[in-house]
Every structure is written in structure tokens, then in C-alpha cells.
């Protein structure tokens, strides 16, 4: 016996809200991971960025983004502003809006970590607004908005956003990092890499747990409905697969760092968990648990390989955001083409490339514009003494003798 439309409406809406709460919580997770994996002299800056990016994403997506993404309009962009003309009969419009808001905040948070410890605060703020209001919604209009960009990427399948959210954040971040250059002293003249250890690993670990928890809403909520047996079965499978891919990613990172370096690296285990989560995000709903474990495990492998690789390319990413969200997101999206018989691999590849190219080059342009107008990077001395003192005049741990030491 099917449920009445009102019952479906109620259950689906509540599910979106509850899932949205969990995804909102991920904003705290990003703040903790990023402040934990960077130096204490830049902690106030990174905390403020994370808090503000969540706030701004909501405002920008409300004013501009939501319409651009979900309203009718052209194949390229939706029309209207501030939810104007939007409606929904199968579930509460506001519940849907809330669920989408927390998603765009996730994409924007990813950038924050990769450009940490050297970017001007206000440059980041401006970019985040553009990303949330325009860049993210446009590509979302093509994929989740359903236009397929006039057919170019029709059939592209991304359940909860390995590409649409995570890689998008990753591409935007990559453009920023390239424009910005590495932190002073990170790469030695002789070709060596000088590690800059994170200042607070309990915080980073807490952040990892928060993200893991939030991801149940991220992926589980993407079913967008719970008003039937089919829906809850799907949600339950999604939750289990999400959990198992994360577990596999973390365990593989533990084993690999032990084998490669003879010591487990906690920061890599956290990244491994997150890579597993990103990887499964494109398709937690179709695969068996075993396949989810495999996809997550390969996410864990990729992160352990990618982190030193980016360093070799002198692409300085303090928290591993590129390895986790960009690399993991691409892998997860392609994995759908490999493991889901109904989705052609080439369609997935096309989606990855089209969306990636769009986001990367648009972001590059925006970063460039910011650089020539307000400047992108703090001065050398500011960087050495820490952004907190120079941009905020505040310390994260003022009573503790810490001197993000000379490096």
C-alpha cells in the first residue's frame, strides 16, 4: 500500500531537514580538520574563514544560487533571484532549499583548507561568494538541475556529489593554489619538501569524526525521499556503503603508511577516511557493500599516493584537500562508470572533464581578477609571523607558548 501524498510530503521533507542538519555539521568538521592540520599562528584566520564561508554560502545561494541552479531558464542557467517563482509539490520547498544550502557550503569549505596559511582573508571571502552564487550553481544546473548542459553531459550520474560538490571544490581550490604559490619555506631549493606539521591533531581527528557523521546526511539525504519502503531501503544501503567505504579508506591509509614509511601517519588516516567518503559519494546507492569497500579502499590508496605527488609538483595543499576532494571525487565519479552497468564510463568521464574544465578555468579567472585588484597573498613577513597577528590582531591560543616555529 503506497503512502498518501501528504504522508510522503511529510516524511520526505523531514528527511531533508534531518539530513541537512547533519550536512550543516560538516562545516564544523571542516573548521576542525583545517585548523588542526595547520599552524597555530594561522588558526584564527582559518576558523573565521570556515565560519564565514558557511554563513556567506547560505546568503549567496539564497539570493542568487538556488534559482540559477534549480529554476527553469536556459540549458545553461536558471532564472530569477531569491527563490522567486520556485515551488515544490513533493516536499517542502524550504526543506529542499536548506538541504541545498548546506551542500554549497561544503564545496566552498574545501577551498579554504587548500589555500590556507598564505591567502588574504578578504580575497578568500570574495572568491567564496562568487563560487557559491555563480560557479557552483551553474554546473549544478547542468547536472542536478537536469539540463545536461543542452545534452553535452546528459546521463552523467553523480548521486550525492563526488563531482558536483567535492571535485568542484577541489578544482576551485587547485586554481587558487596555482595562482597563490606554496607557503614560504615549504619547498627547499634542492628539491626537498619541508613538512609543516599540523598544530592540533585532536582537533583534526574530531573534525574527521564530524565529517564522517555528517556524510550520512550528505549521502543518505541525497535519496531526497523516505516515504516508501524502497526509499528507506535505499537510504539504509547508502548509509552502510558510506560507512564501509570510509572505514576501508582509513584502514588502507593506515596499512599503506605503515608499509611505505614504517609508521602509521594519523593525518593520512584521517585523509584516507575522507577520501573513502568522497569516493563513494557518487554512487553509494547501487553497489553492494563489497564494492563500496573496494571503492573506499582505492580512495585511501589514492590519497596516500597523491599527497606526496602534489608535493613533488610543488602544489602546496596544507590539509590534503586536493588529494581528498579532487582526486577522490574524480575516482568516485569514474567508479560509477566502472561498477554500475547502467552508466557508461565515457559519460562519467565526459562529465568529469566538462565540469572540471568549467570550474577550473572560471575559478582561475576569478582568482586572477582578485589578484590584480585586491591582492591574493599576504606579505612575506605577515606569513612568517602568522596571519592571525597581521590580519586579525588576535591569537588562537594566547596563553600558550607556541611559536609556530621557524621553518
Amino acid at each position: 500500500m503506497e503512502f498518501s501524498p501528504e504522508m510522503k510530503y511529510v516524511l520526505d521533507s523531514i528527511w531533508l531537514l534531518i539530513s541537512g542538519f547533519l550536512v550543516m555539521w560538516m562545516a564544523a568538521g571542516f573548521a576542525m580538520v583545517e585548523s588542526g592540520l595547520t599552524q597555530s599562528k594561522n588558526t584564527v584566520t582559518i576558523l573565521t574563514k570556515n565560519l564565514i564561508v558557511y554563513a556567506l554560502a547560505g546568503l549567496a545561494f539564497w539570493l542568487v544560487g538556488y534559482n540559477l541552479m534549480y529554476a527553469k531558464g536556459t540549458d545553461f542557467a536558471g532564472s530569477g533571484l531569491a527563490l522567486d517563482g520556485m515551488s515544490n509539490t513533493s516536499h517542502s520547498l524550504m526543506a529542499d532549499f536548506f538541504f541545498q544550502v548546506v551542500f554549497v557550503a561544503t564545496a566552498a569549505s574545501i577551498v579554504s583548507g587548500a589555500v590556507a596559511e598564505r591567502m588574504k582573508f578578504w580575497a578568500f571571502v570574495v572568491f567564496s561568494i562568487v563560487l557559491s552564487a555563480v560557479i557552483y550553481p551553474l554546473q549544478g544546473h547542468w547536472s542536478w538541475g537536469g539540463t545536461g548542459l543542452g545534452g553535452v553531459i546528459t546521463g552523467f550520474t553523480d548521486f550525492a556529489g563526488s563531482t558536483v560538490v567535492h571535485s568542484v571544490g577541489g578544482w576551485a581550490a587547485l586554481a587558487g593554489v596555482l595562482m597563490l604559490g606554496p607557503r614560504a619555506g615549504k619547498y627547499l631549493p634542492g628539491g626537498g619538501v619541508r613538512p609543516i606539521p599540523g598544530s592540533n591533531l585532536p582537533m583534526a581527528t574530531l573534525g574527521g569524526f564530524i565529517l564522517w557523521l555528517g556524510w550520512f546526511g550528505f549521502n543518505g539525504g541525497s535519496q531526497l525521499a523516505m516515504g516508501s519502503k524502497t526509499d528507506v531501503d535505499a537510504i539504509a544501503l547508502v548509509v552502510v556503503n558510506t560507512n564501509m567505504a570510509a572505514s576501508a579508506g582509513g584502514v588502507v591509509a593506515m596499512i599503506l603508511t605503515q608499509l611505505l614509511y614504517r609508521r602509521v601517519d594519523l593525518s593520512m588516516v584521517i585523509n584516507g577516511v575522507l577520501a573513502g567518503l568522497v569516493a563513494i559519494t557518487a554512487g553509494p546507492n547501487y553497489s553492494s557493500v563489497a564494492v563500496a569497500v573496494l571503492i573506499g579502499a582505492l580512495g585511501g590508496v589514492l590519497v596516500v599516493v597523491a599527497v606526496p605527488l602534489f608535493d613533488k609538483l610543488k602544489i602546496d595543499d596544507p590539509v590534503g584537500a586536493l588529494s581528498v576532494h579532487l582526486v577522490g571525487g574524480i575516482w568516485g565519479t569514474l567508479a560509477v562508470g566502472i561498477f554500475n552497468p547502467n552508466v557508461p564510463f565515457f559519460t562519467q568521464l565526459k562529465g568529469v572533464v566538462v565540469i572540471g574544465a568549467f570550474v577550473f578555468f572560471t575559478s582561475l579567472a576569478v582568482w586572477a581578477l582578485i589578484r590584480v585588484t585586491m591582492g591574493l597573498r599576504v606579505g612575506e613577513e605577515e606569513e612568517m609571523e602568522g596571519l592571525d597577528m597581521h590580519e586579525f590582531g588576535m591569537e588562537a591560543y594566547p596563553e600558550f607558548r607556541s611559536s609556530s616555529r621557524p621553518h
Partner: protein, 112 residues
């Protein structure tokens, strides 16, 4: 009067302090320092990149005593701080020309 500065391994502090108590030392100041010497640094690992940490955590201990007592203090520290392994630390002795007890204004030997 002499100031005896000793740089020792952190985990020997307690033994050294107990030793000094036994010979009747009534005051002592300690703080944490980082030392670099014959003891080799060790390498730490972070996200796939290794780096060398040259400095070791050490405790520096300062005790001011009458010149007469200096020798016994030095002996006591050497005895209790030594583990026989490299990195055990050093003792430096300086002359002190004046001592004042802040509370009372007492001077020199009376201030100790």
C-alpha cells in the same frame, strides 16, 4: 658564591632534585630548553615527507650556592643525572657577585 647551571635529560630531574635535597640545597630554579650537541637528532614523519629534528628537549637547572658548597652540588648532579648515554648534558659554573632575597632585602650568603 657560584651559580651552577646544569642541562640534563628531562626524566632525570626528579632524581637530581632528590639528590640536591639530600645535601641540603634550599632553592632551585628549572626551565625547559632545547639542546643540540653530540646526541644525534631524530627524524619525524609527516604526510609522506621526512624531516630532521635536531634539538632535544632538555631541562636546565640553576642553583646558586656558596663557593664552599659548589663542589658537592656538582658531584651530586653528575651522580644523579648521568645515564651513561650520549646527551646526558653539561654543567657550567659562573661566579655570582651578589645575591638579594627580595622578600627581606637580605644580601649574599644570608640570602641563600
Amino acid at each position: 658564591m657560584k651559580k651552577i647551571e646544569a642541562i640534563i635529560k628531562p626524566f632525570q630531574l626528579e632524581k637530581v632534585r632528590d639528590g640536591l635535597n639530600v645535601i641540603g640545597i634550599t632553592g632551585l630554579t628549572v626551565y625547559e630548553v632545547s639542546g643540540f650537541g653530540r646526541q644525534l637528532g631524530h627524524s619525524e614523519l609527516y604526510r609522506g615527507a621526512e624531516y630532521k629534528v635536531d634539538f632535544h628537549p632538555k631541562i636546565k637547572l640553576e642553583v646558586v650556592v656558596t663557593s664552599a658548597k659548589a663542589e658537592s652540588v656538582i658531584d651530586s648532579i653528575v651522580k644523579n643525572a648521568a645515564t651513561g648515554k650520549v646527551g646526558d648534558g653539561k654543567i657550567f659554573v659562573t661566579d655570582i657577585s651578589q645575591v638579594v632575597r627580595i622578600r627581606t632585602g637580605e644580601k649574599d650568603e644570608k640570602a641563600l
